[in-house]
């Protein structure tokens, strides 16, 4: 495989990826293995899939996992109730395939061309959920028992899996993944990221904002540290209101966009007084 072919993902205009992340994505694409992404909330785990899809020019299939999601739902759902209802009114119900609805994973495997599949927040589902996916993710094929139809992926989809929790996933599942931990961006990378979202921001404003932001993150015992998306919202609020950070003496304007729990706001208040 040539160099250009390997280095397929370089971030996009709206998504700045660190070198390490780019490398991990490219390894996952080249090896055709799922990429498991972990990291603090707000480090852009979910956005990665969207931007990877647009960078590679592939369609994106999303699967947002919830606490009630079952692995089989991702493949297909057989709508028996609809079929029963139809039979009651004399409809033609011989064709079971009509009542089979593909789930996101099924859709990704059945797609005629390569797609990017995002399995978002896999740790939210039942603890056995990842294990139930092993076979399908390995072989990239499954069988619809009701119709006997076998769905085999024409091209292995690029699978991005995100997870928030540490050490929650079974080993057998982890073995099959390529892993990357998205570290919180350092000041330099953060400045780049902010510039992507606010291209007209001046150096001075950016500097002041980052100063406050990283200062806030360094405050010990915060329950929820402000993340990238909150910084971007906050700068937007500053811009719209025309507040100049350098001229604000005490306190942080629009603190509510950065800190989301009452306890944190209280804590910060106390520290400011002390």
């Amino acid at each position: 495989m040539g160099e250009e072919q390997f280095d397929q993902f370089r971030g996009t205009d709206t998504y700045i990826a660190s070198d390490e992340l780019r490398h991990a994505v490219n390894v996952a694409v080249a090896l055709a293995r799922p990429l498991l992404v972990r990291g603090e909330p707000g480090t852009g785990k979910t956005l990665l899939a969207e931007n990877l899809a647009s960078a590679l020019g592939l369609p994106l299939v999303r699967w947002h996992v919830k606490s009630t999601t079952k692995a089989k739902d991702g493949l297909y759902v057989y709508d028996t109730v609809q079929r029963l209802h139809d039979s009651r009114f004399g409809g033609d119900v011989k064709d079971i395939a009509k009542y089979i609805k593909l789930g996101p994973l099924g859709e990704a495997l059945a797609a005629p061309s390569r797609v990017v599949l995002l399995i978002d927040e896999i740790d939210k589902a039942d603890i056995e959920f990842p294990n139930d996916l092993l076979l399908e993710l390995d072989a990239m094929r499954f069988r619809i028992d009701e119709t006997g139809r076998e769905i085999v992926a024409q091209e292995r989809p690029v699978v991005i899996i995100t997870s928030n929790n540490e050490k929650e996933l079974p080993d057998a599942f982890l073995r099959r993944c390529v892993f990357h931990y998205i570290q919180f961006p350092d000041r330099e990378l953060m400045a780049q990221i902010v510039r992507v979202h606010h291209p007209d921001i001046t150096d001075r404003v950016l500097d002041n904002a980052l100063e406050v932001f990283f200062g806030l993150r360094a405050t010990p015992k915060l329950r929820k540290k402000p993340s990238t998306s909150e910084l971007i919202d906050w700068i937007l609020a500053l811009k719209k209101s025309g507040v100049d950070l350098a001229k604000v003496g005490h306190g942080i304007p629009f603190l509510g966009t950065l800190l989301k729990t009452e306890a944190d706001v209280e804590l910060l208040g106390k520290r400011a007084k002390a």
């Binding site: 490398h23 390894v27 080249a30 090896l31 028996t80 029963l84 050490k167 929650e168 390529v178």
Partner: protein, 404 residues
């Protein structure tokens, strides 16, 4: 040739499997490491390491393999162990010898042990200073020292602390419970029942009714099966519990998972429960125990978590709390009894290792609550007890404490 690196990684407890190793080989064949050591470092970590907690171990393995830095300490320990596994016998001590051996306390002993370990170069048997076998040095195995420390091998009569492998096992990640293991253990804590919205097709009932209707379809739904177990978790925080806080937070994470129990509430206490428990770990928002009991069904499962270690006065004397705000006419043990009697089933999980239980307030509290150590095994037994009842573990002499 890289196969050695695989074993280096495994030696550093990075759990790399053949599966991952083959993937790495495939990646190398594809040239994904860009023919640089940096590239290889990143590539190998991406494929083989799945937990940020292991990154450090990975770095160590990488350094030791590629920079030829030897972790000499490890080899030395192995050598020590080999000597110690083969002890030389020692005849009994005379009384004078015994008297001559100064009693050492544990901290001093550990300090000395580490110091000797650094100085010692060879095998020693029958001496009085070095770590070895069959001697009167406070360190080693098969020897005699009234307050000595055993290192490796079989039992010596006078070992005060056992410094062989078993002590360290508890600090290993794979022995300490992680969230997933707790999760799996808590799965047993359930009683399924159908309640709530009609969401699932009841196939049997549908066929039955349709048959009675002479083929006219009648679709019947029923609620899905849900766990009906309600759990009340009371956790000891602060002071002697601080070393266990990580373990406690894992237990809490697993237990509080949404949808796990029909009802889940948790409160905090410090040391022992007196007239109030608290909504927050800072112990600011008090909830009187009387109110808590009034608002709790008797069939909720009460799970207490704490080390149950305190000064006996704090447990047994009326008004024994060391905090003025928690002063009460009833003693701590009385409050605990009230809790235990209100609920049909309750259990106490103790993060303190079982070998330290004897002769402490733990025995007193174990007479009130069925108590298990907070280990995988203990947790599983506690869950079984909460669901099915059965024998309580016998700890100490419960009869002795009944009169307090």
């Amino acid at each position: 040739m890289l196969i050695d690196f695989l074993f280096e990684l495994r030696k550093h407890k990075v759990p790399v499997s053949t599966h991952e190793w083959m993937a790495l080989m495939e990646a190398l064949a594809l040239g994904l490491h860009e023919s640089t050591l940096d590239g290889f470092y990143r590539l190998c970590r991406t494929i083989c390491v799945k937990d940020i907690a292991q990154y450090d171990a990975y770095d160590q393995a990488f350094l030791s393999y590629f920079k030829d830095i030897h972790a000499g300490g490890v080899a030395l320990t192995k050598e020590f162990e080999a000597w110690l596994m083969d002890p030389k016998a020692l005849e009994g001590l005379t009384d004078e010898q015994r008297a001559a051996l100064r009693e050492l306390d544990l901290d001093k002993l550990r300090e000395l042990f580490e110091q000797r370990l650094k100085e010692q170069k060879e095998r020693h048997d029958g001496g009085n200073r070095w770590i070895g076998t069959g001697g009167t040095s406070p360190f080693g195995t098969g020897g005699q020292h009234p307050t000595g420390m055993r290192a490796g091998g079989g039992g010596g009569r006078s070992a005060m602390a056992v410094a062989d492998q078993r002590l360290f096992k508890e600090y290993r990640r794979d022995v300490v419970l992680d969230v997933r293991q707790i999760d799996m253990a808590l799965r047993g804590l359930r009683r399924l029942g159908r309640e709530g919205a009609l969401e699932e097709l009841d196939l049997d009932e549908t066929i039955d009714r349709t048959g009675k209707n002479a083929g006219e379809l009648e679709v019947v739904f029923h609620p899905p099966r849900r766990n009906r177990v309600k759990v009340l978790l009371l956790m000891d925080v602060g002071g002697s519990m601080d070393p266990h806080s990580e373990l406690m937070s894992r237990l809490f994470t697993a237990a509080s998972r949404s949808g796990r129990f029909a009802k889940f509430r948790s409160y905090y206490f410090h040391n022992c429960v007196y007239n109030s428990v608290y909504e927050d770990a800072q112990l600011r928002k008090a909830v009187p125990v009387a109110d808590l009991l009034a608002g709790s069904d008797r069939d909720e499962k009460l799970v207490m978590v704490g080390d149950a270690l305190m000064h006996p006065g704090e447990l047994l004397d009326p008004g024994g709390s060391m905090y003025l705000y928690a002063q009460s006419r009833a003693s701590g043990i009385e409050w605990l009894r009230r809790l235990a009697h209100h609920f049909r089933s309750s259990a106490w999980l103790n993060p303190e290792p079982e070998r330290f239980w004897q002769g402490t307030t733990i025995e007193v509290i174990a007479a009130v609550f069925a108590m298990w150590p907070l280990t995988l095994d203990g947790l599983a037994q506690a869950v079984r007890y909460l669901v099915r009842g059965g024998e309580r573990p016998k700890i100490g002499e419960p009869e002795k404490w009944a009169r307090f």
